[in-house]
């Protein structure tokens, strides 16, 4: 078998008596387009928090490109190419869009420890940030503070900041959550056009979006994997229909 981009082995975590992850064995192949779905409270965001190091697992291992990263701090995982976005936009709200992106790029390049040279002299990093915004159709807003942008644009900006880190594995936590339906198109386009060398795992409630973007789906229920497979198999799975898809179409 080829080396997985991201792998968890027997990952466990509980908040008191509430298990949010019980024995999760998960593989995200390199270059995968993978979706993680499940009802509210299934532990999807907790899974992202565990993998990225925001939460510490009580048992199990996390591997990134075959390397054990279970005990690495968050920053070290980012340096190795494991990057996430946030369900609720987590931007530097009062700073301009270009600065948001440049902050991420400066960290990636290790420039952010420099105390003396003005940030403006790191011209290459700023221009890289601008090029990224241009490629994502956000360049017109480069100098505006992100809290002045429409929410749909903020969601795009959130992904832009993460792309500035040149991820190998990108975890997209409900990238279209809270966005008016008219603006989701731009977000879907952006995700569809992600370079093939970025493996992504997308958490999403919108089934149409999931079936459009993902070629593999994992269903999480109460902290454990219920089933995993190709989209058409998941759509046809009786168990999934009952616990998840069935929720929307009560008989």
């Amino acid at each position: 078998m080829t080396q997985a981009g991201l792998e968890t082995q027997g990952l466990c975590k509980s908040f008191g008596a509430l298990p949010v992850a019980s024995d999760i064995n998960f593989r995200l192949e390199s270059g995968a387009r993978h979706a993680l779905i499940g009802p509210n409270g299934a532990g999807k965001t907790s899974f992202v928090n565990l993998v990225t190091g925001m939460l510490k697992p009580s048992a199990g291992r996390i591997l990134l490109s075959g390397e054990d990263i279970t005990h690495l701090p968050q920053a070290a995982r980012v340096k190795r190419g494991l990057v996430r976005t946030f369900q609720i936009s987590a931007l530097f709200r009062r700073l301009s869009l270009i600065e948001n992106v440049t902050l991420a790029i400066s960290e990636r390049e290790g420039a952010a420890g420099d105390l003396i040279r003005p940030a403006g002299r790191y011209r290459k990093l700023i221009e890289e940030g601008y090029a990224l915004l241009e490629a994502l159709g956000l360049a017109a807003d480069a100098l505006r503070p992100v809290n002045e942008l429409a929410y749909g644009r903020q969601r795009l900006a959130d992904i832009a900041v993460s792309l500035g880190l040149k991820p190998k594995v990108l975890l997209l936590d409900e990238p279209a959550a809270g966005v008016p339906s008219g603006e989701t198109g731009a977000i879907i386009d952006m995700i569809e056009r992600l370079p093939a060398d970025i493996a992504f795992l997308i958490i999403e409630h919108d089934m149409e979006l999931v079936f459009r973007l993902a070629n593999r789906i994992t269903v999480l229920v109460q902290g454990s994997i219920l089933v995993e497979g190709a989209p058409q198999d998941i759509a046809a799975d009786a168990q999934v229909r009952q616990v998840y898809l069935g929720e929307r179409r009560p008989r």
């Binding site: 968050q74 920053a75 990057v83 931007l91 952010a112 420890g113 420099d114 105390l115």
Partner: protein
């Protein structure tokens, strides 16, 4: 997209990339300091105190305004610097410049050691811990009577002339120029930090610490470096006041000093580099005037003044100026 096409990237980014360049208004504080030297020759002692305290507020702004570290114990570093310079001068080493350097090192060391422990926490917990650090040092200074003079204060400081040539005079002329020069160096340092990638990452930590972790920033280390530098600058400020007043009292480590400098910074405006200059000057001149006009109840007037600032000038004086500028721009 049309707007982006009109502005070629380099032109559009020029303003952003040139933020760190000195602008004309930044000369204003120094021109005013120079003018004050000639216009108010009788107030130079007060002027020196103001200049030294601006450095203290500036050091606080670096951690509070930029890194978002809320502290009520910054006097710990001010006092450490003051006592270090004072004890040196009272024990046969009155050379002022080296006194400042040693004071900065001592205060920076206290900042580094305490920061390594307390910066693991945030919010109210951190606030309490900063208070505790200052309270512990205060009690240490209070008990170590033989070294610090305890509650009577440190007596018998003998500060030598600067460069062996400029004696501290009764009118405070030397003190004024000395403090202005040291403040200028401190300001240049803080200014370059603020505009450096490190300073920008501090701003990122203030704006959204969760995201800062998620972009791979070593947040704890960044905060500790900022805290240590800030502590060293606060120590220099304390040393300046000790050397120019030739006395150090327990008040240098007190809660009141930590609180007052915070108030001064808030009056001026937090996180904008010049809030320290405006706030300290306004507060200390008001304090001086009110205590002359009404020696008994002057604190009442300070309090009333503060209430007005909080109600009418959110974001301090700089916030007020910013809002006025926006108002003026709107009609055109």
């Amino acid at each position: 997209m049309a707007a982006a096409d009109q502005l070629a990237p380099p032109a559009m980014l020029d303003g952003f990339a040139r933020r760190h360049r000195l602008r004309a208004f930044e000369a204003l504080p120094w021109l005013m300091a120079l003018a004050a030297y000639f216009v108010f020759p009788d107030y130079l002692a007060l002027g020196a105190q103001i200049l030294a305290t601006i450095l203290f507020a500036l050091s606080l702004d670096l951690v509070l305004g930029y890194a978002g570290i809320v502290t009520l114990g910054h006097a710990a570093f001010f006092g450490t610097g003051a006592y270090t310079a004072g004890i040196l001068a009272a024990n046969g080493w009155g050379e002022p410049i080296s006194g400042l350097v040693v004071a900065a090192a001592a205060a920076g060391a206290v900042g580094f050691l305490s920061g390594a422990i307390i910066l693991r926490t945030t919010g109210l917990t951190l606030l309490m811990q900063t208070l505790v650090v200052a309270a512990m040092l205060l009690e240490l200074a209070n008990k170590a009577t033989r070294i610090t003079g305890g509650a009577d204060g440190l007596q018998g400081m003998d500060v030598w002339p600067i460069f062996g040539a400029f004696r501290f005079d009764l009118f405070g002329r030397t003190a004024y120029i000395y403090c202005a020069a040291v403040l200028m160096i401190g300001w240049l340092l803080v200014r370059s930090i603020v505009y450096s990638p490190f300073g920008r990452s501090l701003t990122g930590i203030r704006e959204n610490v969760v995201r800062m972790h998620a972009v791979g920033s070593p947040v704890r280390r960044r905060k500790l470096v900022a805290y240590t530098i800030s502590a060293a600058l606060a120590g220099i400020s304390g040393a300046l006041i000790a050397q120019t007043a030739q006395f150090v009292g327990l008040g240098a480590l007190g809660l009141e000093r930590s609180g007052t400098v915070l108030i001064m910074l808030i009056i001026g405006g937090v996180g904008q580099l010049y809030g320290a200059f405006i706030g300290v000057t306004l507060y200390m001149i008001a304090q001086d005037r009110f205590s002359t006009i009404d020696p008994v109840y002057w604190y009442f007037w300070i309090g009333l003044f503060m209430i007005f600032v909080v109600i009418f000038a959110r974001g301090g004086v700089l916030g007020l100026i910013e809002r006025a500028r926006r108002q003026m721009r709107r009609p055109s």
